[in-house]
């Protein structure tokens, strides 16, 4: 090349100089190669991590619908006012220069400078140390921001608390995000803000979908509630600089199907400058809305069950009601009282409310239909009755009851609330005679009763909302064979002793009697559908499962039992309060004694378990009330109210309430 001519010339000095320059340029090019080509990735990562902030955008939560398509949990728009600090930077600057007033000082200048025309009067600012300057800057920013907040407060006619601490916390931690000024504006405030031509700078109205339970307390225990949780789900991008407020389902359907309802969070990247102010935004990945969950619950029936339960007695009712389709196991209503309003958890539950929900005695959070176990009392005589009939004992055979029964191994006789007299099966059933069922139950054998209990899967969970369920307890056959004494059997025969069940299990039990012996899996969720009905995403179906088990008793036995149940309501039995004109209801009452460790009776758990209509039962209704007076007095009227609602709903031209959605 022409520039290298001198290398050929015989000038060692210049040759050395050329080599030195060549070497230097070689070093530079090699260095550049290293930095720009080899280390490119490293420096690009550095550049990205310092200038991009990723923000997690929560997805819109899916709805929860009842079997008619009525939303029981949905989203409503919440209007929030946000302040974009990056749009206030000019104001910050102006305010800063206002708060640093310059002084005019006259310097004595050397003569030649004055001669050259230099002005001796000079503008001078008082000198600040770096910490002083930082403090002043922070004060200035807060002053500007709080002025804006004050203006917003005037427009909205609502005081807005805004402390220096809040502001600094946001400024240091979340500068790239807008500062939330006020959340959950009412419609009037929204209107005021929208019509205001003189809105302060940096203010923006944002719409955020917020969880909303239109029925307030309706099916609260089934739905569950949300808790504030911005964390990423497994399998999501987990590495965010900022997270927008998000919620996680805690219990109930919200908790169990959180992954489906929650959708997939999106990612927004905010480009920030060296001071951390937002420069621009870009949505990298849009959030995918959550899927809708369709329940087997019928909202109207649920509402009826809840209000019927409320009316069971004066004061706060502690109890549960279950309505089930005995052919499919579909849970049509699952009420528990006392209840709570899951809306209280949005955006955050107050300490006071939480204390109320954690009341030791009332336990409003507990789903009494499946989370608490109770002695079934006399409603278990339906099972004892099955064992007696299967053992070949003639239902017409009569037994005399003196009004109590002595059981070997127990000093005190077991009382019988049924008056003394002769009892056959039907009379014993409708009068709930302890003497009859203990005598004949013992004859049939405890093992056959336990076997029936096992086929009903008592003592086991039904798998409905597993985190909120208890299995109850049922003695094992092994227990019965060793160290088992006669009083133990006697107590099991009348549904007390070492036996605990949930109202849901009792609904399964009555369903089995009603449907010809099939022990069903209860079902609460029908299907999960994509938020967009036109999307090609698949619908996840939860079809009715094949029966879990079979009672293994003859149809004759079941028919006699059903007739006895019908008689209990219609022929002046203990369940006569459940009588509803135009509907043939069969039921069994129960009043279980609750004893303290010293054997004294401290209260009663009252029950009414029923099914209707008699010819072909399509509904099973089980009502349980803690500390009620009696099954017939407290629970049977509740069931009657529920049946009346069913009647009314049937009369309306609605798609059949119990239609098997298959």
């Amino acid at each position: 090349m022409i520039v290298f001519d001198q290398l050929k010339k015989n000038d060692p000095y210049l040759r050395a100089l050329t080599l030195a320059v060549l070497l230097g340029i070689g070093i530079l090019v090699a260095g550049l190669w290293w930095v720009q080509i080899i280390s490119y990735r490293h420096y690009t990562e550095n550049q990205k991590s310092q200038s991009f902030r990723t923000v997690r955008i929560p997805a819109i939560r899916g709805k929860i619908l009842d079997r008619q398509g009525v939303a029981v949990a949905e989203n409503r728009p919440s209007y929030n006012v946000s302040l974009y600090l990056d749009e206030l930077r000019e104001e910050f600057r102006a305010e800063y220069s206002r708060s640093r007033q310059p002084q005019w000082v006259t310097n004595s200048l050397p003569f030649w400078k004055r001669w050259l025309g230099f002005n001796p009067v000079k503008k001078q600012y008082s000198k600040l140390t770096i910490p002083q300057r930082r403090a002043l800057e922070a004060q200035v920013r807060y002053r500007v921001a709080s002025n804006v907040v004050q203006q917003v407060s005037t427009i909205l006619q609502q005081p807005i608390p805004f402390t220096f601490g809040d502001f600094m916390k946001h400024y240091t931690n979340q500068l790239a995000l807008p500062l939330p000024v006020l959340v959950n504006l009412d419609p009037q405030q929204v209107a005021r803000l929208l019509e205001g031509a003189a809105n302060p700078p940096g203010i923006d109205l944002e719409i955020q979908p917020t969880r909303y339970y239109p029925g307030t307390n309706l099916a609260a225990h089934v739905l569950g509630y949300l808790v504030r949780d911005n964390r990423s789900l497994e399998g999501e991008v987990a590495d965010f600089n900022f997270r927008l407020p998000d919620y996680r389902g805690h219990v109930g359907i919200e908790g169990e199907f959180d992954a489906e309802l929650r959708g997939k969070a999106g990612v927004k990247s905010v480009l920030v400058n060296s001071l951390g102010y937002r420069q621009s935004e870009n949505v990298w990945m849009a959030a995918e809305p959550g899927k809708n969950v369709v329940l087997t619950i019928d909202a109207a029936l649920q509402q009826a069950a809840e209000s019927a339960l409320q009316s069971a007695m004066a004061g706060v009712v502690k109890g549960a009601a279950v309505v089930m389709d005995p052919h499919t196991g579909d849970v049509l209503a699952l009420a528990s009282s006392p209840s709570y309003d899951p809306n209280l958890f949005i955006p955050r539950i107050t300490t006071e409310e939480w204390r109320r929900l954690s009341d030791e005695k009332l336990k409003p959070q507990v789903n009494r239909a499946m989370q608490e176990k109770y002695a079934p009392g006399s409603i278990f005589k339906a099972v004892t009755g099955l064992a007696i009939l299967e053992a070949g004992i003639d239902p017409a055979e009569k037994i005399y009851s003196p009004g109590f029964i002595r059981v070997p191994g127990r000093n005190k006789p077991i009382e019988d609330l049924a008056e003394k007299g002769e009892y056959d099966f039907k009379k014993a059933f409708i009068k709930s005679s302890n003497t009859y069922f203990i005598t004949n139950g013992t004859k049939a054998g405890i093992e056959s009763i336990i076997r029936l209990g096992q086929r009903l899967h008592l003592g086991e969970k039904t798998g409905l909302l597993s985190s909120q369920e208890t299995g109850g307890s049922l003695p094992k056959l092994v227990d019965v064979r060793r160290g088992w004494i006669a009083p133990d059997t006697a107590y099991i025969c009348i549904g007390q002793g070492r036996l605990d069940v949930t109202p849901l299990q009792m609904a399964v039990m009555i369903s089995a009697i009603a449907n010809g012996g099939k022990v069903l899996w209860p079902r609460l969720v029908q299907r999960i559908v994509p938020a967009d009905p036109n999307s090609d995403e698949t619908v996840i179906q939860f079809p009715t499962r094949p029966p879990r088990d079979n009672l293994g008793v003859s149809e004759r036995t079941l028919a006699i039992t059903r007739e006895a149940m019908l008689a209990d309501v219609e022929e002046g039995g203990t369940g006569k309060a459940a009588l509803v004109p135009g509907m043939k209801i069969g039921g069994k009452t129960g009043t279980a004694q609750i004893t303290n460790p010293r054997g004294q009776i401290v209260g009663h758990t009252t029950w009414f378990a029923s099914c209707a209509p008699f010819e072909n039962p399509r509904w099973v209704v089980v009502v349980m009330v803690e500390e009620g007076s009696s099954g017939g007095g407290t629970c049977a009227p509740v069931a009657a109210k529920i049946y009346r609602t069913i009647q009314k709903l049937e009369a309306e031209e609605r798609p059949s309430v119990a239609s098997n959605d298959r």
Partner: protein, 400 residues
């Protein structure tokens, strides 16, 4: 003086290759000073005649005129006045601490009302002229110890004065320039070896002293100079028995000081092969690369980020053309004076380029050395173009 060569085809009046390289650098400079300064919104609001890139182009024009004017006068006549220029420069340098103005914590400028000029920039030029003039004496005299010491004195005087300003970068430039000129002039190698060896040991001792010695034994360096050295060597400067809090504080300070270099490296590195495109560089636009230095000392980062490895190599290639044509001019010079002047200019330009680009990729510590013709700044642009004018002058008056 002005003569007309007979065969103009083989003997062009000026070195066009160099002119093209200089033009290329000036265009690049204007483009990227624009890119570096216009990213700032407030810069766009200033009147056009006050915008940095317009001023830079104005300085290019003034510098080009100065360059052309310089070519008219034979360098031998210029050299005769070199001593006068040298003395005026020294006086200016002495005057700076007295009547100079402060900017960015250093007193390097003299306010002339219209503009502020930096005597240290012009000191480099007058030093080259004076040194060239001094060393162009007969070869035998150069072997005298007395002459050698005089030459050393000529280097030391402006060196110490500029060092005092403080402007470590400009002062250090004088060393390779002086040494190269001594070497090419034909001063016996043993003198130079001794000098290089001695100064090498001196620098090493200073470094060890500054970096590792206990405080009471340390040289009194300006705080920022010490910081820059510590930053370059990645030492946080905390005492061995410091508390964790003190150590953390020292590390934090060090991170603050190394901020510019770190950001420059990120800019250069994230440019990759092709760069992000003109005016698309984020490091500068978002203010990570400090706005105060992006358009002058760190203009190379802006170019490297926006034009990538291709762009930075193009810049290096343009400088190479400038430097090698300079060396060729030295080889073709009519006399030793011309050769020495050309070599001095080449050494000066090369030192600037190497130190500045080296600083952008962390090969060199941060010293405020501008990149010739690219960095924003009147004094620097004017000096670089005058230096190029000296080269052209030597070329025009080369041996036929």
């Amino acid at each position: 003086m002005i003569h007309f060569p007979v065969n103009e085809h083989r003997q062009p009046r000026v070195d066009w290759l160099m002119i093209i390289a200089i033009l290329g650098l000036m265009i690049t400079g204007a483009l990227f000073v624009y890119s570096a300064t216009m990213a700032n919104e407030s810069a766009a609001l200033t009147p056009w005649y006050n915008q940095a890139w317009v001023r830079q182009i104005a300085w290019y024009t003034i510098g080009s005129c100065a360059m052309a004017t310089l070519c008219v006068v034979d360098y031998r006549i210029l050299a005769r006045w070199s001593l006068v220029a040298y003395v005026i420069t020294i006086l200016c340098l002495i005057a700076v601490p007295i009547i100079g103005v402060d900017r960015f914590g250093a007193r390097r400028w003299i306010d002339l009302g219209v503009f502020q000029f930096q005597p240290s920039e012009f000191a480099k030029l007058s030093f080259i002229l004076a040194m060239g003039n001094f060393l162009s004496r007969p070869l035998d005299e150069l072997k005298l110890m007395r002459v050698f010491w005089k030459a050393i004195g000529m280097i030391a005087l402006p060196f110490l004065l500029i060092m005092k300003e403080p402007d470590l970068g400009s002062a250090l430039i004088l060393l390779p320039v002086g040494l190269t000129m001594l070497f090419v002039a034909g001063v016996p190698p043993r003198y130079i070896n001794t000098l290089v060896g001695a100064s090498g040991i001196l620098v090493a001792l200073i470094l060890i002293d500054v970096l590792f010695a206990p405080p009471q034994w340390q040289l009194k360096l300006e705080d920022y100079q010490k910081r820059r050295l510590l930053t370059y060597f990645g030492i946080d400067g905390a005492a061995a028995n410091a508390t964790p809090a003190q150590k953390a504080e020292a590390r934090r300070t060090q991170r603050n000081y190394s901020y510019n270099v770190d950001q420059a490296l990120i800019s250069v590195g994230s440019g990759g092969l092709m760069g992000k495109g003109w005016r698309e560089g984020t490091q500068n636009a978002l203010g990570y690369l400090p706005r105060a230095v992006a358009h002058n000392d760190f203009i190379f980062s802006v170019i490297a980020e926006e034009k990538g490895f291709m762009g930075s190599v193009t810049v290096v290639a343009l400088y190479s053309v400038l430097l090698f044509t300079g060396i060729r001019i030295a080889g073709q010079a009519r006399d030793r004076l011309g050769k020495l002047l050309a070599v001095g200019v080449v050494a000066m330009l090369f030192s600037h380029v190497f130190i500045n680009i080296g600083m952008n990729i962390r090969l060199m510590p941060v010293t405020g050395v501008p990149l010739p013709l690219l960095s924003y700044g009147g004094s620097s642009v004017l000096c670089s173009l005058i230096a190029a004018g000296i080269l052209q002058n030597v070329y025009i008056h080369r041996r036929s």
